[in-house]
């Protein structure tokens, strides 16, 4: 048996895992040694421990990278679960089709996008990734293979979308793409002075733009609390010629001994970025630049040094969302922790198909934090209390530390979901949030 050290994107956890691989979508589910468990593993871009299974095994799907069908008349694509979203876009954009939902990186697998029911900057228009999955095949450790769709085995569809890989392994999936004229987008950036102004801007922006997302200066306080830049974008209707897709232009070749992200660099960056000249601008931008800006920097996660980083992404629903978000931002600004990456976005009313899907109508805030140990744990405790108070929840794909009670409170269907877990599957995340008292 091969064994290797795996880490997730946040690099906080590094652990040895036994490794199994599917060489083809027709392969049988591997035999796991009795008493052990396995977790499907795609491209390892989950931030915390939801893609890890220390003391157990991982089931790699990177060899499942074949396209099966693409109909350029209807925009329906069928491919194996290990295909990266970047590969799909490379194939389909020149033929006039785009993924209806993309997360902040194109380097995730189709299987991972389903298992985390990822969302994008256009959630207010189109919902989450799972809303556009027509069907997929689920391979169970019992060797059964089920085609799951909203109509066929719908209960397994609902459990597997957002199911964190725990219901078995997805071998292939069929997705509905959306038409586009080309690779270009019309992007507008607007500065806002505080959270109230953000909410006002959003009202309008969400109705005229398919994609909206805000960068927040997480250090600003008082009347400037929640100041930032709102980016809104639509796919361009002009079919300008595509430029070759960028692979990494630059990369972080090594892990620095200390996090490059610290109070001094953060203050400097945030102030300069907020005040950058020509703040109200309309630009014609390649989709890669707008949707996947960080994909241009290979291994940017290494900037956080050997201790890695956490991302805290929560959603707070309903009426009190703005107030709760203000409290969260206050707590973060007071702590003087945080990073360049602080993102605020309004989720729309679409219902996500998964039992454990993260998005719900309200405001979602996402911030990276260098792993600074105890002081960060104190801040997280404070944020957890605020999120719980506002009936919010955290995003498992980004999480490496949420307390079990917060998960169970945020995802009341977790026990119903647990019935669908494959007896051979488990993850570090799942044990953490369900086993503690």
């Amino acid at each position: 048996m091969i064994s290797r050290t795996f880490s997730s994107w946040g690099s906080v956890v590094r652990a040895r895992h036994a490794v199994y691989s599917l060489a083809s979508r027709h392969d049988a589910f591997p035999r796991i040694s009795p008493g052990s468990t396995v977790l499907p593993y795609g491209n390892g871009r989950s931030y915390g421990d939801s893609c890890l299974n220390p003391d157990g095994a991982l089931l790699r799907t990177d060899a499942l990278d074949h396209f099966i069908r693409f109909d350029s008349d209807t925009g329906v694509i069928c491919c194996e679960a290990g295909v990266l979203l970047a590969d799909i876009l490379r194939l389909t954009v020149p033929r006039g089709w785009f993924l209806p939902v993309v997360p902040g990186t194109a380097h995730v697998t189709v299987g991972g996008a389903i298992a985390n029911d990822v969302h994008g900057k256009n959630h207010h228009r189109v919902g989450s990734f799972g809303n556009h999955v027509r069907r997929f095949e689920l391979l169970r450790s019992s060797a059964e293979r089920w085609i799951c769709s909203p109509d066929e085995h719908p209960e397994w569809f609902a459990a597997t979308v957002g199911g964190l890989g725990l219901t078995g392994v997805i071998t292939w999936a069929e997705l509905q793409l959306r038409p586009v004229a080309g690779a270009w987008m019309q992007v507008e950036t607007v500065r806002f002075a505080n959270l109230d102004e953000f909410c006002r801007l959003c009202e309008n922006a969400d109705s005229v733009s398919e994609y909206t997302v805000a960068w927040i200066d997480c250090l600003s306080r008082g009347r400037r609390l929640g100041r930032g830049l709102l980016q809104q974008a639509n796919h361009s209707t002009h079919s300008a010629p595509d430029v070759p897709a960028h692979d990494y232009r630059i990369g972080m070749p090594f892990v620095p001994p200390l996090s490059v992200v610290n109070r001094a660099t953060l203050q400097l960056f945030n102030t300069l970025y907020y005040h950058r000249p020509r703040w109200r601008t309309r630009r014609h931008t390649h989709f890669q630049q707008f949707l996947f800006p960080l994909d241009r920097i290979a291994h940017w996660n290494r900037l956080y040094g050997p201790r890695g980083f956490y991302q805290y992404q929560c959603v707070v629903p309903g009426e009190r969302a703005a107030d709760a978000t203000a409290s969260l931002l206050q707590a973060i600004a007071r702590s003087r922790q945080g990073s360049f990456l602080a993102v605020l976005k309004r989720f729309g009313a679409a219902t996500s198909p998964g039992l454990l899907s993260f998005p719900q109508q309200g405001l979602t805030l996402a911030l990276d934090f260098p792993n600074s140990g105890e002081s960060l744990e104190r801040l997280f405790g404070e944020l957890d209390a605020l999120v719980a108070q506002a009936d919010g929840r955290l995003y498992p794909a980004k999480d490496g530390r949420m307390p079990g009670w917060l998960f169970r409170r945020g995802y009341p269907q977790w026990q119903e979901f647990a019935r669908y877990i494959d007896p051979a599957c488990s993850s570090s995340f799942w044990r953490r949030v369900t086993q503690e008292a």
């Binding site: 290797r4 691989s21 083809s24 074949h66 396209f67 194996e80 194939l91």
Partner: protein
């Protein structure tokens, strides 16, 4: 439009190479042993843009089946313009040391079946006065080492055979290309711990396409293996035999 015959088409390096050719809308004929995987690869390449993809299942150790396969490939492609021979197995050296039968089988798969293909291919292409034949040999063929000399000697035979063939076909318009990959991260090498010297298969594939386009006689992939292997070949035997790697 050029047509490429790919032998061992489900091997990781061959498949990555085929994807680059498919993106250029070329015509492909694929040969491999595992029917299910071959079909998955063929379908994938068609979706990725290949003009036409033909495929057939064949165990390359069945030498008598080579000629009819070449005939079908020629027909499908409208004349074979390029060939990539990429099939092979990474021999279990320790097991070979205990079994003559296994050793000979490995030599058959990695060397003799290649030679058996090359002769009729060379004759076909040279009679038309055009084309390119690329074969995946290995840096392991540059000098036999204790850890894998069965595999290495098979590749050495292939390298020497290609060198001679290249001279022979020089005036017949046919390029003979020896591909020498170093350590490549593929399912064949899944059991190895990967370090700095390991290359991604896509990088090797891009090098193969470049070698086809430029008709380069011998390429090391990645290129840094050329100086490394120069040194390894230059070491006196008295020194070399004391080394263990």
């Amino acid at each position: 439009m050029s047509g490429t015959l790919i032998i061992g088409a489900t091997s990781a390096i061959a498949e990555s190479t085929a994807r680059l050719l498919a993106a250029r809308h070329e015509r492909l004929y694929l040969v491999a042993r595992n029917p299910q995987r071959l079909k998955a690869v063929a379908t994938d390449l068609a979706v990725r843009g290949a003009e036409r993809v033909g495929h057939e299942v064949l165990d390359l150790n069945d030498l008598a089946a080579h000629e009819p396969m070449l005939e079908r490939a020629d027909g499908f492609l409208g004349g074979i313009a390029r060939v990539l021979i990429a099939h092979g197995t990474l021999s279990d050296q320790k097991a070979c040391e205990r079994s003559i039968e296994l050793t000979l089988r490995e030599l058959h798969t990695n060397a003799l079946s290649v030679v058996a293909l090359l002769t009729p291919l060379a004759n076909r292409l040279s009679s038309r006065g055009t084309g390119a034949i690329a074969v995946i040999s290995s840096v392991a063929g540059d000098r036999g080492r204790a850890s894998n000399y069965v595999y290495g000697s098979a590749k050495a035979l292939v390298t020497a055979f290609l060198s001679g063939l290249r001279q022979r076909l020089r005036h017949h318009g046919v390029a003979v290309i020896t591909i020498k990959p170093g350590l490549v991260d593929t399912p064949m090498t899944a059991a190895f711990t990967k370090g700095l010297l390991w290359a991604r298969r896509e990088r090797v594939a891009a090098g193969i396409v470049r070698a086809f386009d430029r008709r380069t006689p011998t390429v090391y992939l990645p290129a840094f293996w050329r100086p490394i292997m120069f040194v390894i070949r230059a070491l006196p035997e008295a020194v070399f035999r004391r080394l263990s790697f």
